[in-house]
Structures are given as structure tokens and as C-alpha cells.
Amino acid sequence: MTLRQTLEQAIEDLKKEVAKMADFALYNLREGLNAFKTTNFELARQVMKADDEVDRFEEEIAKMALKIIWKEQPVASDLRLVTGILKLITDLERIGDHASDIAEMTLHLEDNRNQRVLPLTSKMAEIVEEMVLKSIQALVRVDESLAETIIQTDDSVDQLFQDVISYVTAELKKETIDPNEAIYVLMVAKYFERVGDHAVNIAEWIIFIAKGKHKNTMLF
């Protein structure tokens, strides 16, 4: 039995919309990398354009959350969920931006060489995409232990990023890599490293939603 069907429905709708936004941002991230890997200008432009959609999601979700706040005056877990979502959509929006940034890097490439992306960068991308995917799952289930694992994964992303830098530096010294390509590969790696950071931020907001604690500080 529940006495607040309107509130429960509004919260369900809100969660669904955030999950959609996250799916969309993750899809763009994958397609952005694909565009870069295959030097597909058409796909790159599509991904860049799709970023507007992520921004619209952010606005729509913010409106839904604010409406719940003024109409339903949520407390306790409802309040934490709604305010946590208001915070974490900023990180989702940034992930969308970086998907677009990665796609944009494609436009600076000239020809259609294979093996454009170093295996190390691909490995990074794989881990980061997994982090984003888990953050969506953790949010939908308000699963703080899953959120914790995302935070723990971030160190390996940072390590991989360092490895990419060392590798590219070494290749540049040996002149076995085109400097132009090196720059954009590094930037793509950097964007993935940032996306990893945003997945961590999302995980931290999920822990707040679960416990009211953000980075070990009680926010209430």
C-alpha cells in the first residue's frame, strides 16, 4: 500500500529519464570512439550533433526534479534521490560533451590509416565505458557497493593514461608515430580519463543518495 502514488510515479519517471540520458551519453561515447578509430567524418558529425540532445535531457530532468521538490516537498530517501540526481546530471552532461570532443578529434585526422588508436587507449576506453555503464546500473538500483567499485576502478584508468603518455612519448622519440596523430590520440585518452572522473563523481552522488554522505561528509 502506498499513500503517495503521484510522488512515486514522478520519482520513477525521473529515474527512467536519467537512465535514458545516461544510455544516450554512453552510446555517443562509443560512437565517438568508433568515429575516431575509423576516421569516419560523417559519424563524427552525427555524434557532435547528438550532444544537443544530451543537453536537452539535462534541462528536462532538472525541470522534473524541481517540480518534484516544489510540489511534493520530498524528504529522506526521496529528497536524497531527487537532489542527488540534480547534481549527477551535470556529470552526465559532461560525459556527453567529451563524447562530442572525442568525435571532434576525428575531424583533425587526414587519412584513413588503420590501427589509429593505440591498443592502450582502447583498453582505457573499454574500462571507462564499463564505469559509465555500472554507474547507470548503480543509480537505477541505488546500489552503493556497485558505486564503490566504480570509484576503485578509477586508479587503473589513471594508470593507463600515464601508460599512454609514456608510450606515445617513446614512439615520438623513435619517430615511429606521426606527431599530429600522437597529439589527437593523447587528447582522446585524456577525454576518456575525464569521463572516468565523471563516472566517479556520479558514483559519489549515488553513495549520497544511499546514505546522505558525499565523499565522507554528511551533507545534512
Binding site: L3, R4, P74, V75
Partner: protein
């Protein structure tokens, strides 16, 4: 973290019965000085009963008896030698429905002090002015002190009742749903008043309005079927309640 205020009431293992029926079960709670403590919970959970324990208003109900300890400043108030009138003077009460006496505004205020033997007219005049000012009613009634209290609006009547309680110079003010009969503006005035009275008084308030409890209380106690389910800082209770039943009640999932 701020230091904890001194304890005014310390209640330990309180059980209260109306005849055979147990209305309060093993309640242990401390009430702190110059704080607003809100009591929330569904109808019939024992909030008013608990409030009446604190100034022995339950004595007026024949079938009522209690076990456990209720101390007010370390004095057991249920021991036989307790000065119950003195207790009720220190621990005043404001009710749900404004209940001014059918007399003038100023007579409402000096009735209690007069009963206590205060005769000095200057002093009585001072009590009238001070208590009305503290109850944020002075400006509205200062030119009509001799008019009937019954001519005041509901919100004004309730503030008069608070002034009447203040006129007795209490330390604690108990309020049982003091705004449930008032419109939003009158309610807001009483809420502001409660927040300012906190500087001088310890206030314990029963309310069915969750937002009101969240707005005005420092500590909140959630009662359910005679039991104290959760008690703590209002900000903690309304954001991260520990007990699932508290969570369900304050989020409106059951009632």
C-alpha cells in the same frame, strides 16, 4: 558539532496505561533546554499523552497510571511530594484550539499571575505588555487591551494563549498542534514566534504537519503505536532516518 544543551526532562522506561490499555511503551528520551522538540506520528500513537506526562496533566484522567522515571531538572515529578501546581506553572501548555477566557485581552493575561497572588498593578501591567510583545501580538492589540479576547481572529487568539502561558513565566512550553486550526499566514506567524521564543524557553510541540516539524524543530521524535521509534536531530531524521518505519512515515508511504 555544537555542544549539547543541558537536559531539562529525562524520561526513562516510561509506560503509561489508560486502565488496561497501554498508550506509551518503554519510552526513554531526553529533552534539551532551549530547543524546539517536535513530536510526530500517526493519530493515536500517544503524542498528546506523552506531552501531558510532562506536566502531569494526565493526573486529571482517573484511569491513567504510569511506571518508569520522569525527571525534570533531576527531580522525579511523579513522587508524592511534587508541587504539581508549581510544575504546571514552570511547564505551561498551549492547546490545539485557541481557548482564550471569555474576558478582556488584558484580563486573560493577568488572570494567572493574579491567582498566584500578584497584586501590584504596575507589575501586572508590565506582565501584560511583556508577554504580548514576546508573543508578537502587542502591536496588533495594544490599543484594545480592554476589549474581549473572543473578538480576536483565530491566529491572534492562539498568540494570546501563548502570551497567557508566557505570563506565568514558565521554563517549558508544551504545544499540542497549536496551528492545526489556523490559516497559513497565522501558522507562519506562530512558527516565527516559536523560533524566537526558543531563545528563552524550551518548547515541545506536537504537530501533524511534517514540513512544520522540519522547519521549526531542532530535535524530532517519531512515535508509533505508543513506542518511540526514532529520536534525533531534525535535520538527520528528515534527511537520513535510521529506522525504516520513520522513513515510511515521513515520506508518506504509510500513515
Amino acid at each position: 558539532m555544537t555542544a549539547q544543551n543541558p537536559i531539562v526532562f529525562q524520561i526513562e522506561n516510561l509506560n503509561l496505561f489508560y486502565g488496561e490499555k497501554q498508550a506509551l511503551k518503554e519510552i526513554s528520551i531526553a529533552i534539551y533546554e532551549k530547543e524546539v522538540t517536535a513530536l510526530i506520528g500517526p493519530s493515536g500513537c500517544g503524542k498528546s499523552t506523552f506531552l501531558r506526562v510532562l506536566n502531569r496533566m494526565n493526573d486529571l484522567i482517573d484511569s491513567c497510571h504510569i511506571t518508569g522515571n520522569v525527571t525534570y531538572h533531576d527531580q522525579d515529578i511523579y513522587q508524592p511530594k511534587t508541587d504539581v501546581n508549581g510544575l504546571r506553572k514552570s511547564v505551561g501548555m498551549v492547546f490545539q484550539k485557541p481557548n482564550p477566557f471569555p474576558m478582556s485581552i488584558q484580563d486573560n493575561l493577568i488572570y494567572g499571575p493574579k491567582c498566584q497572588g500578584i497584586r501590584d498593578r504596575f507589575l501586572l501591567k508590565q506582565i501584560v505588555e511583556q508577554s504580548l510583545k514576546q508573543a508578537a501580538l502587542w502591536d496588533e492589540v495594544k490599543d484594545r487591551l480592554k476589549e474581549s479576547a473572543l473578538a480576536l481572529s483565530g491566529g491572534q487568539q492562539q498568540r494570546l494563549c501563548i502570551a497567557r502561558t508566557i505570563a506565568m513565566k514558565p521554563e517549558v512550553i508544551l504545544m499540542d498542534e497549536p496551528t492545526s486550526a489556523l490559516d497559513p499566514v497565522a501558522t507562519a506567524k506562530i512558527e516565527d514566534l516559536i523560533s524566537s521564543l526558543k531563545q528563552d524557553y524550551t518548547i515541545i510541540i506536537v504537530t501533524h504537519n511534517m514540513q512544520q516539524a522540519a522547519r521549526i524543530s531542532d530535535k524530532t521524535a517519531f512515535f508509533l503505536m505508543g513506542e518511540l521509534i526514532e529520536y534525533g536531530d531534525a535535520n538527520q531524521l528528515f534527511s537520513t532516518p535510521e529506522n525504516k518505519k520513520t522513513e515510511e512515515y515521513i515520506t508518506g508511504r504509510f500513515g
